[in-house]
């Protein structure tokens, strides 16, 4: 909400000072009492270096049939007499005309520089109203077709024109409105502050000044009565607690006076004509949106407030056709719709230059209905953004009178007698809100005297009854409902920053902690970082087409994603169901940046849709790892083993997998712990790598967090170190090359029994010496007993068992 400071202070006893420091101080005090200031702008003319010049010589341009070359006296300060070429046809010798000098700025920020026009030097430009951002209609005698000639203007009639030479044109025309415009951020609970008077009230309380609304008196000079000109019928009073109408006869549509135009324009509202300007002015001043209908267009002389018909089409003031629905509230006459309540009027009832009778509407509409209606027709107006915050019938009543008063003051017409009104029974009821100084002090942690609280509340125009422990808020404060709201008012004006800081002094100690899952998550993050990986943070959105890039079949479960109904774009419309695309995209990004290596990880969610779509999706937390550069399958395996070791998980099993179409079919393994699959890792399929533009030597690993966290042992039990010596034996076998090493070692371990302390593969050989289609595996076995030194016999027995087992899978001792 933009509020011109001079206008705002006019409702208080604080005097405006034309100084930035003054405006800044008010802004900062207002911010601290809760009216947050976004910006403070000094309002001054945007037109620079445009001065009055006198035409001392004029001749036709030799190379042009419509241009003139003029010698203009712009005053000694700006170089005396300069040459200006103009195409304007209304320049005569001796005329006084605004001249934009070299390096001047005119309307729209356009810069004017000296130059040549068809070979003749022009040291600037003569200006029209439009070029100065002005409207000729506000200057009697002024014309649009041509430059401004001061002699033509009525306001300067009889002045000594030569004295204006070299003077700033905006000052000469008296159009330099000087003020400071403060832009306030208005929160949704303070509909009242969406107005200059509302902010003036806040300013007055903040600065201990006096606030007063202008005295509102309507003379009602017209002979007739409003009720004879218009009738009001509210069919849907649940959505319209109050409706007031006043009528004006003998309307003279004309420009508004300068003071009103200046105030409107300072607020960023364009002045149109006196009637429209009055409705806008009252809205800005009081916060009550108003509407003016041409009475001739209210058919049957009756305004009917009712819900719209579904599918009804209605053309609003802006010339757009809008489709309505039955949840919207309309303003209608006996034939059809003439406005969308609280949003925008209709083209059919608009004020025209020949309008002679008008009906002013000032009403209260249901906030949610206006908000929904505005949304459904895609129209958010100054009016709707005020109604949707909730306004009071009293404000509507005050405002209709204010508008009538302004009509009279501006001589815009004659106001008829009386107000045609509809008031729901509960429209003007007072509300009581609990107020208990003791409770408020206990809540705020303060020791504010009850009298001080009462004073603050009374300054805010609340009626206080300390005995009954209640207050009655003023009509414009719909936000004061419970005692916490009252406490906020007290705190605001006592000063939030005057409240003494404490640290839960009335409360017992509590123990801060993390859950096991939270601790394990951090252990994993630190381990991965220790293993050389960098933690990334990625978006959980995906494009639905990544599943094509992953080469997943059409019926793959990953394609059943949670879909965002209003995404930023198709590419961000799916909640991810796999971490793989996230990782690949990040690897590809790093690759594109020519980073030689990128080792990355993240713990994050994938979102798995439930069978019942009304349930929230499962948030499955996963550790995702991705790397290229100086990485291979067994290095990645080592990284994972180191992690499992850190978490003290039981030994993992790796099972070759060809299940995932985006993974290399010969270099991918499922990871099982305790017989349960917890994830997969391996090299990415080269075609998938190409699809993502990731390097082909990209490796990824994806593991579910839940089983890692559940299985992790945080406090491992220490074991005694062995007392007796170990005996080592080597064992080399030749067998079919297709048998995985994992199977062999499994047999060795099973058969080796308790005495086999460890078994490690130290050589794997394939070659002509062991036969085609065969391989040789060599293991180092270590035997030990906790009970005594083992004899050769003991060990031979175990070795024999192991060999027997290996023979079963066709292995031969080498």
């Amino acid at each position: 909400m933009k509020a011109p400071l001079k206008w705002l202070l006019a409702y208080t006893d604080i005097e405006y000072k034309d100084s930035d420091a003054f405006a800044d101080e008010i802004a900062s005090l207002m911010t601290l009492s809760g009216s947050k200031v976004e910006t403070v702008d000094k309002l001054e003319s945007k037109i620079k270096r445009v001065v009055v010049g006198k035409c001392v010589e004029i001749k036709r341009h030799e190379n042009s049939d419509h241009m003139f070359v003029c010698m203009m006296d712009v005053g000694a300060e700006f170089g005396g007499v300069i040459q200006i070429v103009t195409g304007a046809q209304n320049v005569k010798l001796g005329d006084h005309i605004p001249v934009a000098l070299d390096n001047s700025v005119i309307s729209g920020g356009r810069e004017i520089k000296a130059g040549k026009l068809r070979g003749e030097v022009s040291e600037g430009m003569m200006c029209s109203f439009e070029e100065l951002g002005l409207s000729s209609s506000n200057f009697e005698g002024g014309i649009d077709d041509g430059v401004i000639v001061l002699e033509d203007l009525k306001i300067l009639g009889g002045k000594d024109y030569d004295s204006f030479v070299g003077k700033d044109i905006m000052e000469v025309l008296d159009v330099c409105y000087k003020d400071h415009v403060i832009d306030f951020e208005i929160t949704s609970n303070r509909a009242d502050c969406f107005s200059v008077t509302g902010l003036a009230r806040e300013a007055a309380v903040t600065m201990g000044a006096k606030f007063s609304l202008p005295e509102i008196k309507v003379k009602e000079t017209a002979k007739g009565k409003a009720e004879d000109s218009i009738a009001v019928q509210v069919d849907d009073s649940d959505l319209c607690p109050a409706y007031f109408a006043r009528t004006v006869k003998n309307v003279k549509v004309a420009p508004s006076p300068k003071w009103m135009r200046e105030r409107l324009e300072a607020c960023g509202v364009r002045a149109i004509n006196n009637i429209v300007d009055i409705t806008n002015y009252v809205m800005l001043e009081m916060g009550q949106p108003m509407h003016a209908f041409d009475r001739r267009t209210v058919r049957g002389g009756r305004i009917i407030v009712r819900r719209a018909k579904d599918g009804e089409i209605f053309r609003t003031l802006d010339g757009q056709d809008r489709t309505l629905n039955a949840n919207m509230l309309m303003i209608a006459d006996e034939i059809g719709t003439i406005g969308i309540a609280g949003v925008m009027g209709g083209e059919n009832s608009e004020i025209r230059p020949d309008t002679t009778e008008i009906v002013f509407e000032s009403a209260t509409f249901d906030a949610v209905t206006v908000r929904r209606g505005a949304k459904s027709v895609g129209l958010r107006t100054e009016a709707s953004s005020r109604f949707e915050k909730g306004l009071d019938p009293m404000l509507a009543l005050i405002s209709i009178n204010r508008a009538a008063q302004l009509v009279e003051e501006l001589g815009a017409g004659e106001v008829e007698k009386g107000i045609v009104s509809f008031k729901r029974e509960d429209a003007f009821l007072d509300r009581e809100v609990p107020f208990d100084p003791e409770k408020i002090n206990a809540f705020l942690g303060t020791d504010i005297h009850a009298a001080e609280m009462v004073k603050i509340l009374e300054n805010l125009e609340c009626r206080v009854n300390l005995e009954k422990k209640i207050i009655v808020p003023p009509y414009f404060r719909h936000d004061l409902i419970c005692i916490a709201d009252v406490a906020e008012e007290i705190a605001r004006f006592y000063g939030y920053n005057n409240i003494e800081s404490t640290l839960l002094k009335n409360c017992e100690m509590t123990l801060g902690s993390r859950t096991k899952k939270q601790r394990i998550r951090d252990v994993i993050r630190n381990r991965m970082s220790g293993s050389g990986f960098r933690e990334m943070l990625t978006y959980s959105f995906e494009s639905p087409n990544v599943y094509d890039k992953l080469m997943l079949p059409a019926d793959d479960a990953h394609r059943n994603f949670v879909k965002i109904s209003n995404p930023l774009g198709e590419d961000y419309s799916a909640m991810r169901t796999s971490m793989a695309p996230t990782v690949l995209r990040t690897l590809a990004f790093n690759h594109a940046q020519r980073n030689k290596t990128a080792w990355l990880f993240e713990i994050s969610y994938v979102y798995i849709k439930k069978a019942n779509e009304e349930e929230l999706p499962e948030h499955r937390e996963q550790l995702a790892v991705g790397a290229y550069g100086d990485m291979n399958f067994f290095k990645m395996k080592g990284v994972l083993e180191a992690l499992f070791e850190e978490l003290k998980l039981p030994e993992a099993e790796y099972i070759a997998s060809k299940e995932l179409p985006f993974m290399h079919p010969g270099r991918t393994a499922d990871i099982c712990i305790g017989g349960k699959k917890i994830g997969y890792f391996g090299q990415i399929h080269p075609l998938c790598a190409d699809n993502f533009e990731a390097p082909r030597d990209s490796y990824i690993a994806v593991l579910d967090l839940e089983p890692l966290a559940a299985g992790a042992v945080e406090i491992p039990k220490g074991k005694e170190l062995p007392k007796f010596p170990a005996v080592t034996r080597d064992l080399a076998v030749v067998l079919d090359r297709k048998i995985p090493q994992g199977e062999v070692i499994k047999i060795i371990r099973q058969r080796g029994g308790k005495l086999l302390e460890s078994c490690e593969l130290f050589d794997c050989y394939e070659g002509i010496q062991v036969g085609i289609g065969k391989k040789s595996l060599a293991y180092s076995l270590c035997f030990r007993s906790p009970e005594g030194t083992l004899t050769d016999e003991d060990i031979d027995k175990q070795m024999k068992k192991i060999l027997n087992g290996l023979t079963n899978i066709g292995a031969e001792l080498r």
Partner: protein
């Protein structure tokens, strides 16, 4: 015979002084002490001596042998030491050559900042709560006093899944989950991702991170809120940091405030970071609205509480002097390795 021993000794001394390699020492040893060596040779001739002469001769011969042995050992040691010295000399490196790099990992700057906050609040008796990102409208809005049609919903452009389901726009949704399941005393923080339909630019991202705080207990005051935030501000922005509360409006707290801290760039004098204000906004907070408590079956006549929401990105930008938010989500390793 004795003279022969003296000659041997003399010859040995001559030879050993001119020997400098391990091989020549070895051949010297063979020559004098070997099975066919000179000492052995002399000893073999001992039979020619009278029994009376034999002990004296034997003793002398042994003395010469011991002398030779010790000299050889000494010389060998000397040579070894010299050779080691040579070897070490050869192994000398240029200590100014570049290091062999270790593969370094790192934690994400946003998570590092979050971790600092977690530690701080855990130390103050808080637990960490977690809640879903894909959330019911009820938890994100309705239960927080933002019913459908409430104008404040406009300030948070929301991604919807269905009419009733959305991507949470604020971690405040976790407040409701916690209060539904836990009765006071409650002291929790809840960091996590939140979503708003903002296009990505240097200062906005459709996904960002917040850290929610909630305390509900008997006798919790607004002074406690202020004191807590002061501790937070000093811990995160330095001991000299001051805070300023500005009244604001959040539908689920009353009174509500936005909190500024004295600018870390200039200490409050005014600079580019704070746009000359001297203060930088870092969080929103307030006393939990009685309606919110009531909705979670907590009696506002008995209990009160405060809540706050901290923007993680904003804090991290400040902390690490990063100017463009997008870098946090691009995950360029050259960016990540700085932290």
């Amino acid at each position: 015979m004795i003279d022969i021993l003296a000659d041997i000794k003399k010859a040995f001394i001559e030879k050993i002084t001119s020997s400098s390699s391990e091989e020549s020492i070895e051949s010297l040893r063979v020559d004098f002490l070997g099975k066919k060596g000179r000492i052995t040779g002399v000893m073999k001739q001992m039979g020619q001596l009278t029994p009376e002469e034999r002990p004296a001769f034997g003793q002398s011969a042994n003395e010469v042998r011991t002398f030779i042995e010790s000299k050889i050992a000494e010389k060998k040691k000397e040579i070894k030491a010299r050779e080691l010295e040579k070897a070490l000399e050869k192994e000398t490196v240029d200590v100014t050559m570049p290091a062999t790099p270790m593969t370094e990992g790192s934690l994400h700057p946003l998570n590092k900042v979050t971790e600092e906050m977690k530690r701080l609040f855990i130390g103050m008796g808080y637990e960490i709560a977690e809640g879903p990102e894909v959330e019911y409208d009820y938890y994100n809005f309705e239960a927080l006093n933002l019913p459908e049609g409430h104008p404040a919903r406009d300030t948070q452009d929301t991604f919807y899944i269905t009419d009733k389901m959305l991507l949470r726009t604020q971690t405040s949704s976790v407040q409701i989950h916690v209060m539904e399941h836990k009765k006071p005393p409650i002291r929790i923080i809840s960091p996590g991702k939140v979503y708003r339909a903002d296009n990505l630019d240097a200062t906005h991202s459709p996904i960002f991170h917040q850290l929610e705080g909630l305390v509900v207990d008997k006798g919790v005051t607004m002074g406690d809120l202020k004191g807590t935030l002061e501790v937070y501000a000093k811990a995160m922005f330095g001991d000299n940091t001051k805070i300023r509360l500005r009244p604001h409006h959040f539908p689920f707290t009353e009174p509500s405030a936005e909190v500024d801290v004295t600018c870390w760039g200039c200490g409050g004098k005014g600079c580019r970071i704070c746009k000359g204000e001297g203060w930088v906004e870092v969080l929103g907070c307030g006393m939990v609205h009685p309606d919110v408590l009531r909705r979670c079956d907590i009696d506002p006549e008995v209990y009160s509480g405060f809540a706050f929401g901290i923007g993680i990105e904003r804090t991290a930008l400040a902390r690490y002097g990063v100017s463009d938010l997008r870098q946090f989500f691009e995950n360029d390793v050259r960016f990540l390795e700085q932290f």
